[in-house]
């Protein structure tokens, strides 16, 4: 068969498969991310239906997926919000980072995977999935709850931390020496500060350039700009994802809102490809041996997120029930954790890291929202009894 024909057939089959899985997830009321990962596992090496030729095509699609995921994440926030959130919630943010990076890092060190793997695993267990958490908050009607601003500002803090963490990780994965690694990190920090400053002071100039009454022009300019900055960031070893995130932050207001609406379908397509690609790279037969470990890690990091939520919400003057809800809302892990694990897998840090991260995210992306749904009535009745 012709090469193009095979690529279309395989890619088409993957997308149709994802569509069906997405419909199932929708009916079950869970995030589709775990199902996409499972699909990737099934199509990959050692899976039930390995893909022959289109893996390279899918890998480029996956890279674009990361850029779009981070770009739309950046579009959700504006620079003002980031700065306010940093000022007001630094303590809670740091507690979140220490408590939740520790399980992954300690696990990697205990397994003897070395310091680079420890840094990568720290990221895998640290970041809450802002996408899944936002959906949980809105599905359960928690958006108006008084602990929600605390949860949201923790998410903002985590995302900003990523802007520093990802370049550090990229430098370590590239095996840079301490000196050149430090230079990279310095460049990253400088870039982040410059972009924040530019966005705060001169955001309207960037917006004047990008802004257009025509959707097509707007889409081309935003995606083009994000890919350009991502490319430059990658070249500087700062990580393409961070570049795209910063472009998103620089755009704000109505423009950001319009761009988000335009980008969402594109992002959903490529992000799904990204999750599949991660699954493709993971050999499902390797998951079995690490499944127990992943479950243990999941339980530990659920507890650390619950503690984080309780700590942050108590500081904000929230009562017991709200503290519990804040912790539960923070449990889901998803896109960021896979982005981090994907970087580590691509650099060949440790053969078991991919399967462990996949199993871990599978558990928490599926169980996080479910836990919130199940626990909600319990918390309410306990709170009622305490009040009555």
């Amino acid at each position: 068969m012709h090469h193009t024909a095979i690529i279309f057939l395989e890619f088409g089959a993957v997308l149709v498969g994802l569509g069906v899985l997405g419909a199932l997830a929708l009916r079950a009321g869970i995030s589709p991310i775990p199902l996409y990962l499972l699909a990737g596992l099934a199509f990959g090496t050692g899976g039930i239906l390995p893909l022959a030729t289109s893996e390279e095509f899918i890998s480029v699609g996956a890279e674009i997926g990361v850029v779009l995921l981070l770009l739309t994440l950046g579009l959700e926030y504006n620079a003002d919000e980031l700065v306010t959130s940093l000022k007001g919630n630094a303590t809670a943010g740091i507690v979140d980072m220490v408590l939740n990076a520790a399980p992954g890092a300690i696990c990697a060190l205990l397994l003897g995977w070395g310091p680079v793997a420890a840094v990568a695993m720290a990221g895998v267990t640290y970041a809450t999935s802002s996408g899944i958490t936002a959906k949980v908050l809105s599905d359960l009607g928690w958006v108006g709850n008084r602990e929600t601003p605390t949860v949201l500002s923790l998410l903002v803090f985590e995302d900003l931390t990523m802007a520093i963490y990802l370049p550090v990780l990229t430098a370590m994965l590239a095996g840079l020496s301490l000196a050149s690694g430090a230079v990279t990190v310095a460049i990253a920090l400088a870039t982040v500060s410059v972009v924040l400053l530019v966005a705060l002071k001169f955001g309207r100039f960037i917006e004047a350039f990008v802004s257009s009454p025509n959707n097509e022009v707007l889409l081309l300019k935003v995606v083009g700009l994000a890919l350009l900055v991502a490319g430059i960031a990658q070249q500087l070893q700062v990580s393409a994802a961070v570049g795209a995130f910063l472009v998103g932050i620089a755009l704000s207001g109505q423009l950001a809102h319009d761009a988000r609406a335009l980008l969402e379908p594109l992002r959903d397509l490529f992000a799904a490809v990204f999750f599949v690609f991660f699954g493709l790279q993971t050999d499902p037969t390797k998951i079995g041996p690490v499944a127990g470990l992943a479950a243990l890690l999941a339980v530990i990091s659920m507890i650390t997120k619950l503690l984080t939520g309780a700590f942050a919400a108590r500081r904000a003057g929230i009562a017991k029930a709200g503290q519990a809800r804040a912790g539960i809302a923070l449990i889901p892990r998803g896109e960021f954790n896979i982005v981090i694990a994907g970087l580590a897998v691509a650099a060949g840090v440790h053969p078991d890291l991919g399967p462990l991260a996949a199993a871990y995210v599978l558990i928490l992306a599926a169980f996080g929202p479910l836990a919130a749904k199940l626990v909600q009535p319990l918390i309410t009745s306990i709170a009622k009894r305490a009040a009555g």
Binding site: E81, W142, N145, L155, H257, I318, A321, A387
Partner: protein, 164 residues
């Protein structure tokens, strides 16, 4: 005027803004303004004051309808205050009787402003206020027209609306 309401504003990063206040009867209510334009009316639980027990999602039209329902008596009340505050300025609420010549006709036909120098600032229909109606606004029987002007001119408007 009663005591002013203490409205608390909280930013919801990535979502929008939340405004909330406690009513005199002790209920806490709030409005979440999403960036997408959606508005949620939320009511907090008495036993667990951090939790929203009822969320009412409102689209643009619904939010506007709610504002009009809640705002209708307020506008008239404010006009009455204005009337007391500014000497010589009168605001009147004039019913359109079913026999009025302007029933089912655009308001511009009455040429109220040219003939009397008074202004029609609002029309109240079934509890809903249309503020600053244009000349093409079609009047209906039992509408209440709110006019502002001098004592003489507003009296003339009453006469025009009743008898043409």
């Amino acid at each position: 005027m009663g005591r002013s309401v203490d409205v608390e504003q909280t930013a919801l990063p990535g979502i929008g803004l939340r405004h909330e206040f406690t009513t005199q009867s002790g209920k806490r209510v709030g409005v979440i303004s999403h960036r997408t334009g959606r508005r949620d009316l939320v009511i907090y639980d008495r036993e667990d004051p951090d939790r929203v027990c009822e969320t009412v999602k409102l689209n643009d039209e619904e939010a506007e309808a709610l504002v009009e329902l809640l705002g209708a008596p307020r506008i008239v009340q404010r006009l009455n205050q204005l009337h007391q505050q500014v000497e010589g300025l009168v605001s009147l609420q004039l019913p359109i009787p079913p026999g009025s010549p302007y029933v089912d006709r655009p308001m511009g036909d009455a040429r109220v402003r040219t003939r009397t120098n008074a202004s029609i600032v609002a029309v109240v229909r079934a509890g809903r206020v249309s503020a600053s109606p244009g000349p093409d606004f079609v009047l209906a029987a039992n509408d209440t027209v709110v006019v502002v002007g001098s004592a003489d001119s507003t009296a003339e408007v009453a006469d025009i609306l009743a008898h043409g």
